[in-house]
Structure formats: C-alpha cells, structure tokens
Symmetry: C2
Subunit: 237 residues, 2 copies
C-alpha cells in the first residue's frame, strides 16, 4: 500500500488481492499480536529496547521517503537512513540476545555493535543486488529502487565518479523516477565500479561487526554469528 503497487516479488500484493481495508486492519492485528508476544517476556528493558528501535525504524522510513527524488543526498545522509531503517532492527535483535541471555553490559554493547554493522552491510548489499541481482534469485527486478527514485549508494557513487553526461542521466533518473535512463545508469554503474565500491563499504562494516565479537567467549554460537556476517556480504540473493 505504501508504494501503491500491485506486485511484490512477482506475486500480487495483499492490497491488490484483498483491498486496502483488510490489508491495513490485518496488519494492525499482527502488530498488536507481536506487542502481546513482547509483553509475554515480562521484561521492561526488552520493551524499552523494542520501543526505541521501532521508533527509530519508523523515523528511518520517513527519512527515506523525504530523500526520494533528491539527487543531492550525500553518502553520510544515505548511511543515516540505512542505520535507522534497517541496521537499528539488527542492532535491537542482537542486543536483546545479550539481554535475555544475561550477558554483561560490555557483552550487550558488543552485540549491539555487531548487529548495527551487520545490518548496515546487509542493506548495502541489498542496494548492490538491486542493480546486479538475478531476479530469479532475489525475487526483485533490476532497477526497482531507481523506479522509486531512491538515491542509494551505487547511484551516488556513479553520479560522483561518472562522466558529466552519465551524472546528468542519473540525476534525471532519481528526480523523475523513470526507468527510461536505466541502460545509461547501468552502464555508468559498471564503468565507475560503483557496485565494487559499495561492496567494499559493506566489507568494512562486516569487519567491524566481527571485531565487536571479540568481547564474547569462543563458542559455537559466536562461530555462527561470524558465519552469518560473512554470508551477509557474500550473498547473491
């Protein structure tokens, strides 16, 4: 409903199938059910972490909306949006593992750092796959972000480092959110190495995430977190 789209990952959306009313109201019901599940844990600190995360995520979604069609967004602003809308959820999830598991304050902070940098890397790779993924594997079409006028890092980098006519084409694509410029934009992304640059930023985030785990004892759980971090940056879907 947010993007008034009838299709998602090749399937009809709930609002296309059941209408706006059922989609919103059943969504509210699911939200309230998850609220009950949070309460059932019976820990006020858990509630606080989830409330604060939910608030930041909602703020991130609004920020992203404000950034749409704005070709003058800089990398710092882009990173803020993905820290808010995506990384905060990973951070809260990882932090809660430490809280519920009875970790020390240092371990809790380490887990929060791990989650935050993992989530940032995850979103960076998501933005890479939007321009390079195989739609059979990702379930998304190349250029979906462009069609919404989202100024993601691959675009920002290609605009900054491409030829003037390439930069102009990318700017036009962001501002008018059309796919008319898609071939030109893809060529600029290839020629500037924008996806390699974005993957490199993701690898830096993953390195920080893994370093944060030094605060935890060596267990099979820690190994799993390390594997998850490596997977997040190497994935193709």
């Amino acid at each position: 409903m947010v993007d008034e789209s009838d299709l998602r990952r090749g399937n009809q959306t709930a609002n296309a199938l059941f209408g706006n009313a059922a989609s919103v109201l059943v969504g509210d019901f699911l939200y309230s059910r998850s609220f009950q599940m949070m309460v059932s844990v019976g820990d006020m600190r858990v509630m606080q972490i989830l409330a604060d995360a939910t608030n930041v995520i909602a703020e991130g979604e609004v920020l992203q909306l404000l950034n749409c069609h704005d070709a003058d967004i800089d990398e710092e602003n882009y990173l803020r949006v993905i820290r808010y809308k995506t990384a905060k959820l990973f951070e809260a999830a990882a932090r809660l593992g430490a809280v519920i598991g009875g970790g020390t304050p240092e371990q809790e902070e380490a887990m929060a750092q791990y989650g935050m940098h993992l989530g940032t890397a995850f979103q960076l790779i998501d933005d890479v796959l939007d321009y390079s993924g195989n739609s059979n594997e990702t379930g998304k079409n190349v250029g979906d972000d462009l069609a919404e006028g989202k100024p993601t890092l691959p675009l920002l980098y290609a605009m900054k480092n491409g030829a003037p006519e390439q930069a102009a084409a990318i700017r036009e694509a962001i501002e008018f959110a059309g796919l008319a410029q898609l071939e030109t934009v893809l060529k600029a992304i290839r020629e500037t190495g924008a996806l390699q640059y974005t993957r490199e930023q993701a690898r830096r985030e993953i390195a920080i995430a893994k370093a944060a785990l030094d605060a935890l004892p060596d267990t099979k759980h820690k190994s799993a977190l390390i594997q998850l971090a490596d997977f997040a940056v190497d994935r193709n879907f």
Copy 2:
C-alpha cells in the same frame, strides 16, 4: 486509507493531501512514539493491559469489516463488534486509571466494567447520530454508515420491525452499500422507533456503568465519571 476516502469531517484526508506512503509511515511513527510513552510508565501490567486491548481492538476492526454488507448479522454479533472495537479501549483506559492509582482488585474490576459499558453506550449513540445528527455538530453526514454497508443497530431494528418492503430496502442498502435507498431507510427508522430503541439500549449500558462505580468511594472524581456517563448518552455530537 482504509476506506480509500478523500474527505473526513469535511476536510481532506492525510492520504489525499500527502499520499499513501507518508500517511502510513507517519502513522507508524506515531504508533511507535505511543509505544515509547507506554514503556516510560515502567509497569509491566500497564503494558499487558494495553497489548491485550490493542489486540482485541484490531480484531474488532477486522470483525466489523467481515460484517459489512451482511444484512443477516444479529444484535448479539453487532454488540460483540462494538465491545471489541470501541468498548475495549474505554475499558482499558478506565482499568489503567485504577492500576496506576493503586486501587484494590475490586476497584480495578469496577472501573473496567464502568469503561466497558460506557464505551458500548458511546458507540450505540454514535450509531444513532449517524442517522439523526446535525452534520454541523457531528462533522459527519447522515448515512455515512449506510454508504459503507455497516449493519448497525438502528438498521437491524428497523429491518426486523418495519414493513416487508422497508425490510427489503434496508437489506438492499446494506448488501449493496448504496445511498439510493436512503430516504426509504430513514423513513423506516423513524416509523419503527429504531433510534429510540437504540438510545434505550445505550441508557441501559450507562445504568450498568454507573452502578459499577458503587465500588468506589464518593469523591469529586467519581462525580466526574458519573457526569461523563450521562453526557455520553445525552450528547448530540
């Protein structure tokens, strides 16, 4: 957005002014902010009451949606919807007053009963005003519920007690949600005394609500609750 309407109480809706995306996302932000405010009270029982109430309210909204265009709803089913979608919120609010104020378990139950019956009466009167209110006072147009095919008590009563051709017209209006039958429906409501009947049900609820307050000491706060109950059933807006 739920009813895909451009106007509410004579003003343009948020989705008409700002689009679906901003309306949903800013709504999510407000919801998350209220979640933070609940957490700030620091009382797990408050969270539980609010989580359970939110869940029932969401369920009530879905139930109401399922009942739309169904002329075979009975009075019991109608009452369940308003207990869920409206009265539960009043019940939770009144109960929380007792919880936060440190009332006894008996006082808490009494307040919950007060809220539940007050909320039921409030919604019954709302449904009366939909067919009789002055749109300058209520901010709604006569027949808004009919236009959505909502089988409210005034309609159910008039259908049951009106002449066969009146019952048929009301059934058609509910099932096809048109205002073509509005004049016939309003005449049936007048002739059967459906609004008086509905107001009478509201008065019964208010009497139960006020009786529940016997469990509380006589204070100016109790007087205010009694005045509120009387106002809810006598209001014209």
